[in-house]
């Protein structure tokens, strides 16, 4: 959490490797299978293959490419990177349908072009579906709650809760406590001026809701 302009979205984009940002100093170390790697040395797609995921605040539309085709190509690129055999269309659909149930999504979504003509809420749900299918190790959800109505918020949150395991981490970027009514965070960090200025548990979020950020700055 953090005030507007604190750099929350920027941080998640940098970690995913957005080409508009240049990291001038420092490294981002990421331990995977007891091996320390610097994320900054990797192209965005390699980061994704190493298990980094970014749910976009404003997902991109890809006309002419079906959600199913996109997601399967994506999953198979990641599997291929890890030396695993690709999923057949049938295997993929079985997996995707299972994940869609978690998010109360109509299977017809798979036939539609990626995000084309989706409502704001549908786009966000689609991002979480991608996360569910790709099962990343570290996922950044950039204001996934914005633009969701109450029902969608509940469904997406429940989905996120079900996707949380011992082996992954989910970083939520949000402005609102209301998301945290559904998702119980282990930690709440406050980012301001490019630094984490406060860390606490769920209680910190409640306090921020009540008092704002001024008392911290």
């Amino acid at each position: 959490m953090g005030p507007n302009g604190a750099g929350k979205s920027t941080l998640s984009k940098i970690l995913a490797g957005h080409p508009a940002y240049e990291v001038t100093e420092g490294e981002v170390l990421y331990e995977i299978n007891f091996e320390m790697k610097n994320l900054l040395d990797m192209e965005p797609d390699i980061r994704a293959k190493e298990g980094i995921f970014l749910a976009f605040q404003y997902p991109i539309e890809v006309p002419g490419i079906s959600n199913a085709n996109f997601l399967r190509t994506s999953l198979n690129s990641i599997l291929e990177y890890h030396g695993s055999p690709p999923l057949s269309e049938e295997e993929f659909l079985t997996l995707a349908h299972k994940k869609m149930e978690l998010l109360a999504m109509n299977p017809k979504f798979l036939e539609r072009s990626v995000n084309v003509g989706f409502s704001g809420g549908e786009k966000k749900r689609n991002e979480i579906l991608q996360m569910a299918v790709l099962s990343p190790r570290v996922a950044f959800l950039d204001e996934t709650d914005s633009g969701l109505d109450i029902d969608a918020l509940r469904i997406v949150s429940e989905g996120v809760n079900k996707l949380k395991t011992k082996n992954n981490a989910i970083v939520l970027v949000t402005h609102y406590q209301r998301l945290l009514d559904y998702i119980k965070p282990q930690y709440v960090h406050v980012l301001a001026g490019g630094k984490i200025i406060e860390t606490g548990d769920a209680a910190l979020a409640l306090k921020l809701e009540e008092k704002g950020y001024d008392w911290l700055l």
Partner: protein, 466 residues
């Protein structure tokens, strides 16, 4: 990232070493008489050539297109070049020079009887002459005529005389006049009343000889209630000099007939310094002559140093339909000026003339540096017979246009980034986005061409973005 692949990967850039029968360079009445006599043409055709030539001499190259090139020296072009035939007499594929058979094998076009693509009849034009047409017998059974235009002049002079030059008259434009004067070969196709052509028809054009112009002339007539799907492919060797391809294609659809015409144009583009490449100046026009007739043009323009091309439709019949689907891709010094024109003429049932409406759509792309530009355009024109009370015919136009500059564009980068964060590398991301955008055009192509088009675009995009 290296961009070598784009220019060096033109796998059709080889040259066939073959003995040719060619005229000396230059253009005058004698050259035209010689072409006509080599083709043993009837007097009326020679006369129309000479008339066109006389008119051409009064014209200057059009300058309205958004294209830049040095003026062409029309006296420094050879107007007729044909492979020498090993034997005289009626041409059959078995008698073909083995070098030619090898050439077409290399181009992925099997000519020998066993291996040829089933379900597609093919006419092959090498420099100035057609070297053979496949499946003619099967087509003859249903009355479909498909042969080279030279052969048609001999065998079906009345049909040719009746229709040639009626859609694109020699007076149409500079290049049309030149073509009418010196055209050498191309395809002729006639689909009789009520016949659905049992297979796709295809012509493959190849310019091989040095400093030789190719003046293609193609004429397709679909009689009442008939249907034909026609495809055209083009390649040329990699050369430092510019080669000229000035073609005229005429389509005529009678009442209730439908013609689908597709082109995958992959002439040599020139190298990345802009040296060489084919100048492709083409006049393509169809006429929906009868009620309920349909003509569609689909083009994937990924080759040529210069493309000057506006496949158009004259919507004369009531309820007739014209459509244009195009994907054009330019890189380095390539230039493409392409678009379409739909001319609405239809009349109402009571014979009150409608107001003729011209819908004009043009896309101009001129590139000089290391960039790739892709534009996709889709449009449909439907001429609807309006209720008697309505004074004008209604037009339905749907258009989708995309101009994508694949290099430094920020929003494009953002799109690629989204796909990259899903584990697709940059090249895969680009080809996925581009193919997605082009899908609506590609799906209009017959399956084999559609696969070829996707591969072609992918090959061109490879290593193209740094």
């Amino acid at each position: 990232m290296s961009r070598e692949t784009i220019s060096s990967d033109y796998k059709y850039g080889f040259e066939t070493q073959i003995e040719t029968d060619a005229l000396a360079k230059g253009l005058n009445e004698d050259v035209i008489r010689l072409i006509s006599s080599k083709k043993q043409e009837p007097e009326w055709l020679l006369e129309s050539r000479l008339k066109a030539f006389a008119h051409w001499k009064t014209l200057v190259e059009p300058t309205w297109a958004q294209l830049k090139h040095e003026p062409l020296d029309y006296q420094n072009i050879c107007y007729y070049s044909a492979p020498k035939k090993p034997t005289k007499g009626p041409q059959s594929l078995d008698e073909m020079d083995p070098e030619l058979i090898k050439t077409f094998k290399k181009l992925g076009i099997p000519l020998n009887e066993q291996k040829r693509i089933s379900g597609v009849a093919m006419d092959v034009v090498f420099d100035s002459v057609s070297i053979g047409t496949t499946h003619t017998e099967e087509l003859e059974k249903v009355g479909v005529i498909f042969c080279s235009i030279s052969e048609a002049v001999q065998k079906y002079p009345d049909l040719v005389k009746k229709y040639i030059g009626t859609i694109v008259p020699y007076s149409d434009n500079f290049y049309a006049a030149l073509n009418a004067a010196v055209f050498t070969d191309g395809s002729f196709c006639y689909i009789p009343k009520g016949v659905r052509c049992p297979m796709d028809l295809s012509t493959y054009f190849r310019i091989n000889a040095k400093e030789t112009g190719q003046f293609e002339r193609t004429l397709l007539v679909a009689d009442e209630g008939s249907y034909v799907n026609y495809l055209e492919g083009c390649t040329a060797p990699q050369r430092d000099e510019n080669q000229l391809h000035a073609a005229v294609v005429e389509l005529i659809a009678m009442e209730g007939a439908e013609i689908k015409y597709s082109t995958v144009q992959n002439w040599y583009t020139g190298n990345k310094q802009g040296v060489g490449g084919v100048y492709n100046f083409v006049t393509k026009r169809g006429k929906c002559a009868g009620r309920n007739s349909k003509i569609s043009w689909t083009q994937v323009e990924s080759g040529s140093a210069i493309t000057w091309k506006y496949p158009s439709v004259i919507l004369q019949g009531d309820n007739s339909e014209g459509a244009f689907y195009s994907v054009a891709l330019t890189h380095d010094y390539m230039q493409a000026d392409t678009g379409t024109k739909m001319i609405h003429i239809g009349e109402f049932q009571l014979g009150i003339p409608a107001i003729p409406i011209e819908a004009w759509l043009k896309l101009c792309r001129l590139r000089k540096t290391h960039e790739i530009i892709l534009n996709v355009i889709l449009c449909w024109w439907v001429q609807i017979v309006a209720p008697i009370l309505s004074p004008i015919s209604k037009l339905k136009i749907k258009m989708q246009s995309l101009n994508m500059r694949l290099q430094p564009h920020e929003s494009a980068k953002n799109n690629f980034f989204y796909l990259q964060t899903r584990g697709l590398n940059l090249e895969k991301s680009i080809s996925m986005l581009v193919n997605g955008f082009c899908k609506d055009v590609f799906k209009e192509l017959p399956l084999e061409f559609s696969v070829e088009a996707v591969k072609l675009i992918e090959m061109k995009l490879e290593n193209s973005v740094g």
